[in-house]
C-alpha cells in the first residue's frame, strides 16, 4: 500500500485542489456522480489499481464504478484518505507487517505507532457512529467490490460487534433473512443451546 505521498491537506473530500501537485483519478459512480480523487487514495482501491495497471489507460478518463453509489463512494474516499494520513504517522522505515514488529524499533517509532493506533481507534469509532445498518451494508458491498481490504476488515469487525450481543430476530432483520425453521426445529435448537441465549440485548 502506498505510504503517504505528498498529502493534500485540503479537508474537502470531494473536490481536488486546483493546481495540486498530486495526480488525480476520475471515478464515475452508478448514479452518475463524478469524483476526482488523489491517485494515492484511489490506489487503495484494489479494483482501481488493477484497472490502471492492466491498461495503459489515460488517468483522465473517468473509470466507471457501476456497483457503487455516490454516497457510498464519498464515505469510502473519506475513510481511505484518513487511513492514509494515519499510516503516514508511522515512520516509513517501520514495516507494516505485524509479525515484523519484533524487529528492533527505536523508542520514537513505538511512540508513533501507539499514537497512530489511538488515532485510528478514535477515527473508526466516529466513522460509523451515525450510520444505519443499511448504510453499513452498502459500504460493505462497496468495499468488497472496490477490493479495499482494510476498510472491509474494519466494516466486518464493526458489524460483528453490532450483532454479537443481539437476538436471532435482530440478526435476521439486519441481514434481511427469513427464518426457515419449523417452530419445532427452532425450539429444539434453542433448547440445545439454551445457555447461548442468555444475556442477550433487548431488541
Amino acid at each position: 500500500m502506498a505510504n503517504g505521498e505528498n498529502q493534500n491537506p485540503n479537508p474537502n473530500p470531494i473536490e481536488a485542489t486546483p493546481g495540486a501537485a498530486a495526480r488525480t483519478i476520475t471515478l464515475k459512480t452508478a448514479d452518475g456522480e463524478i469524483f476526482e480523487v488523489e491517485e494515492a487514495v484511489a490506489m487503495e482501491f484494489g479494483t482501481v489499481k488493477s484497472f490502471f495497471e492492466d491498461d495503459a489507460v489515460s488517468a483522465t478518463k473517468p473509470m466507471p464504478l457501476p456497483n457503487v453509489s455516490g454516497s457510498a463512494l464519498s464515505r469510502v474516499i473519506t475513510y481511505c484518505r484518513r487511513s492514509l494520513e494515519i499510516r503516514s504517522m508511522i515512520p516509513p522505515a517501520t514495516s507494516e507487517d505485524a509479525t515484523a514488529a519484533e524487529a528492533v524499533q527505536g523508542e520514537g517509532d513505538l511512540e508513533a505507532e501507539k499514537a497512530a493506533k489511538q488515532e485510528r481507534k478514535e477515527f473508526e469509532a466516529e466513522f460509523l457512529k451515525d450510520e444505519s445498518n443499511e448504510d453499513v451494508k452498502e459500504l460493505i458491498l462497496a468495499a468488497n467490490y472496490l477490493n479495499i481490504k482494510e476498510l472491509l476488515d474494519f466494516l466486518c469487525r464493526s458489524v460483528a460487534l453490532r450483532i454479537q450481543n443481539k437476538s436471532v430476530e435482530y440478526a435476521r432483520k439486519f441481514f434481511g433473512i427469513e427464518g426457515d425453521y419449523t417452530p419445532e426445529e427452532e425450539a429444539q435448537i434453542r433448547q440445545e443451546y439454551a445457555w447461548a441465549f442468555e444475556g442477550v440485548d433487548e431488541d
Binding site: A30, G46, T47, P66, N67, A98, T99, A101, E102, E113, K117, K137, I140, L141, N144, Y145, N147, K149, L152, C156, R157, V159, A160, L161, I163, Q164, N165, K166, S167, V168, A171, R172, F175, G176, I177, E178, G179, D180, Y181, E186, I189, R190, E192, Y193, A194, W195, A196, F197, E198, G199, V200
Partner: protein, 419 residues
Amino acid sequence: MLTTNYGSSSAETVANNEDLVTQILIRVPVKPLLRFKCVSKHWLSLISSSHFYHHHNHNHNQNQNQNQNQNQKQNHPTSLSAVILRRNPSLFQFVPLKPTKTTTTTTTPPFTSLHFINQNSPSNIKILHSCHGLFLCRSVQEKNNILNQNNRHCYYVCNFTTKQSTTLPSINSFSPNEPISIFGLTLAFEPSKSPHYQVVCVRSSKVSMYYYQIEVYSSKTRTWRTSGSPFVAPFDIVFDNGVFCNGAVHWISPSGSALYYDIERERVEKMPRLVESWGKRRSRYFGESNGHLHLVDICGVRTTKFKVFEMERDYSKWFVKYEVDLDEIVATFPEMVRDSLDPCDSYYYAFVIVFVVRNENEEESSLLLHIPGKIISYNFRDKSFKKVCDLTPIRNETKSSLQFGWLDAYQFVETLACV
C-alpha cells in the same frame, strides 16, 4: 477471498454473499454464533462447517498475535472461561470464571450430562482429559460376551459446546493373540497452532513387557500410527494423568520422576525430577495453564503455606513461581477447620486445589480452591481472594465434606472445534 465478480443487479445483498457473511461471522465470538445457528438453515450449516471453524480459529489467532506483538496489556483474562466439576458420575457443575452480564443469576450451563455422547448409558462415560474446549472421554462397554475376557474401553473425543462427539477407532494389538495393554491416553489440541487435534496413547510394546510404545491418533488422518521407538520408564510413572502443554505430553510419578513426549519430534525425554518436599505429602497438583506447567505439593504440618512450582520453557528446572499463604482465607472461612482432627494433622484444613490459573496479565493469575461448600479464587499477586461460587450439597454430601479433588475438575472454554 473477496468476490469481485458482481452482476450489476442492485439486488445483490450482503446476505446473499457467503464470503461476506463468513467474513463478518468469523469475527463474532463462539457463544453468539451458537445462537445464530437459529437464524436460518443456511447459517446453521455455515457455522457448523469445519471450513468455517478453520477460518474463525485463524482469525482469532491473528488477533491474538497482533495484540501480543503490539505489547497491549490484555484486559481480558485467559481464554479459560469456566471450570467443570464432576460432582458425581452423571452430574456436572459448571463454574464460570469470566464475569458475565448476568453474574448474579446462575447461568445455564452448556451441558449437565453426557447423554449426547452415548444415549444408552451416560453414566458410564468418564471424562479423562480436557484441552482447549475439547474433551477426551471413555466408556466401559458391557461384557456381553463370556469369551471376551477384557473389558473393552471405548474412547470419544467430544466438543461440549457444540455437543458433538466422535468415537476413536480402536487401537490394534500387534498380534492377534497378545492382548494390548493401554496405560493412558491424553488429548493434544492446540488451536493456536492447528485446528486439528491428536490423541497420544501409551501402550504395551511388542518388544518386551518392560517397554512402552506411543501411538498417536490424528483427527486429520483419522487413524492411529505408531510413533517413536519403544521406551522404558520408571516403574511408577502414571500414564493416565498426562498433561498436555506446549506440544508435549507430560507424566509424573509419586516418587518424583517426570517424563514428557514431544509430539513433533516423536521422542520421549526426561524432565527434571520433581522438587523434594519435607514432611508427609497430603496431595499433589500437576497441571497446565496458558502454556505453563505447574506443580504444587501440599505436605507437612503447615499446609496453609505452600509454593507453586513452574517448569522453565526449556525444561531446565522447576522454579518457585508463586508463594501462597491461605491463613487469611482460613480466618474468613472457619468451616475450613476440621476441629475433630489434631492441628498437626495434614488434613486439618479442608481445601483442595482445583486449578492454578496463569494469566497473560500477571495481575490476574490466581489459584482456584475448593473449600467446604464453595469455590474460592485467590490472587497470587495481591493475595486478595473472593468467592467464585457456592456448591450446593447434593444428596449424600455434608456441608463440610470436600466433594472432589483436582482430578475431577476440567478446564472449559467455548469452541467450535470439529471432532
